[in-house]
């Protein structure tokens, strides 16, 4: 397991891949070679693929059981070291100042006051040892602790019938999720990793941990949360990754 993860080329590969993608456009596939054109690049093909991805969002929404829990593991199964992954290298992870930090809360909520870190630390804490699955295919087991997001949403008077919750991050990352996933009992505002204050590489001071979503849907360094009925999209979602990406 560990040796496999050492081979992990996540962030560099992702950025290199993205650069190549941007340079070549959506490039050659076996079929496109046979067809003599760049199939994925073709506008009507891309429209059809995007429509199928939206259909898959809906299908996954139907398949999602809000009461089904992701399996939890004994602490002995935790992956060490837990891999770092982002769209940048580990030494470029943002440095967020704990005293300046504010969590903005907006959109369809009653109390729009920003939250300071000590206020978040004072909320009831819950822990989980769950499997994090990356869209690239690898997986790793880790332990996160923090505030149950459904409790937090109730505390701020969020409109729980709204469709989306959007997240903005200190590293200019963004993502968004469906309300049923936001209210899932294992969705946490994680403030700790392995019983320690979340280190910078895992998203200090707060990451949203959802064992029912792929890794890229779990934003780190979250600085703003908004409840909305307009699809907020996200950093990878806007580039073609499936929006729902649920497990």
């Amino acid at each position: 397991m560990d040796s496999k993860l050492e081979k992990h080329r996540g962030p560099l590969l992702a950025s290199l891949e993205r650069r190549l993608f941007l340079r070549r456009g959506l490039s050659l596939g076996a079929l496109s070679l046979l067809a003599g054109c760049e199939l994925t690049d073709d506008e009507s093909v891309q429209q059809a693929l995007t429509a199928m991805s939206r259909w898959n969002d809906r299908a996954q929404g139907w398949l999602f059981d809000p009461r089904r829990l992701a399996p939890e593991f004994p602490e002995s199964r935790i992956t060490k070291p837990f891999p770092f992954n982002a769209f940048y290298a580990e030494d470029q992870a943002p440095v967020v100042d704990a005293t300046d930090y504010k969590l903005e809360v907006g959109g369809l909520v009653r109390e729009k006051k920003a939250w300071r870190l000590p206020e978040l630390y004072a909320l009831p804490e819950t822990s989980q040892v769950t499997r994090h699955i990356c869209v690239e295919g690898w997986s790793a087991i880790g332990k996160w602790s923090g505030v149950r997001f459904s409790d937090f949403l109730q505390r701020i008077g969020a409109d729980l019938s709204a469709r989306y919750v959007g997240f903005k991050c200190a590293d200019d990352y963004s993502t968004s999720i469906d309300m049923p996933t936001a209210l899932h009992p294992q969705t946490l505002l994680a403030l700790k990793y392995a019983d320690q204050v979340l280190p910078a590489k895992y998203g200090f001071p707060m990451k949203v941990r959802m064992p029912t979503k792929l890794g890229f849907k779990n934003p780190k360094h979250v600085v703003a949360i908004s409840v909305t009925n307009e699809d907020p999209g996200g950093y990878w979602e806007d580039q073609g990754y499936n929006w729902f990406s649920g497990s």
């Binding site: 190549l20 596939g29 076996a30 079929l31 199928m52 649920g246």
Partner: protein
């Protein structure tokens, strides 16, 4: 001698065959691109043989063709079971007969006089292809929905077990396709038969 035309493949089987061939081609080539994002083993697939251009594109192809494969496969299996097509064409089958026909095929002695009856080597290969496809679909569902389908995943070593099973079933199915296409090249009239459904006996 008068020409005699025999019906070999019913229309539903022919349509399902070609829809399946296209779906498998898309699933395999996009799957190889997804594999390349984080290889399970110490090799990657050549990019020229993959579909999608990058991980997100390959995932879009994979999860679109998935529906074509699943719906077509369900229609084919329902027809095969309910019409007796599977029982007539694929059974009975015995290990001894399979071994005898595989050896005969390797010596070039296998008869293709009557293409409407599958020899034992064909029966084994086609049954294996159906089982490999079932394994691919089951393990693929677990990789897609490891939490919602946890009960299915627990039969195959959870998420990581499903990844391995998905890879090896793919390898088996690709091996089947290579042998299958080689056999069609050796007995080319079978190709036309899968399109027209008919076979002329002179």
């Amino acid at each position: 001698m008068a020409e005699k035309t025999i019906k070999v493949h019913p229309p539903l089987v022919r349509v399902a065959h070609w829809v399946n061939a296209l779906a498998i081609l898309i699933m395999v080539t996009s799957g190889w691109r997804i594999y390349n994002a984080f290889p399970l083993f110490d090799f990657s697939f050549p990019e020229e043989l993959t579909l999608g251009g990058w991980l997100a594109g390959a995932l879009q192809w994979h999860f679109a063709a998935m529906w074509v494969l699943a719906i077509n496969g369900m229609i084919y299996v329902a027809y095969g079971v309910l019409s007796g097509h599977f029982r007539r064409k694929l059974l009975p089958i015995s290990p001894r007969a399979v071994l005898a026909d595989v050896l005969a095929a390797l010596r070039g002695h296998l008869s293709h006089a009557d293409l409407s009856v599958y020899n034992a080597a064909q029966r084994a290969a086609y049954l294996a292809a159906i089982l490999l496809a079932a394994g691919l679909i089951a393990s693929g569902l677990v990789i897609w929905k490891p939490v919602q389908l946890y009960w299915l995943g627990s039969l195959m070593g959870d998420y990581e077990g499903a990844r391995l099973l998905h890879f090896f079933c793919m390898a088996g199915l690709v091996a089947f396709v290579l042998v299958h296409v080689a056999m069609v090249l050796l007995v080319p009239k079978t190709f036309l038969t899968m399109i027209t459904g008919k076979l002329k006996h002179g």
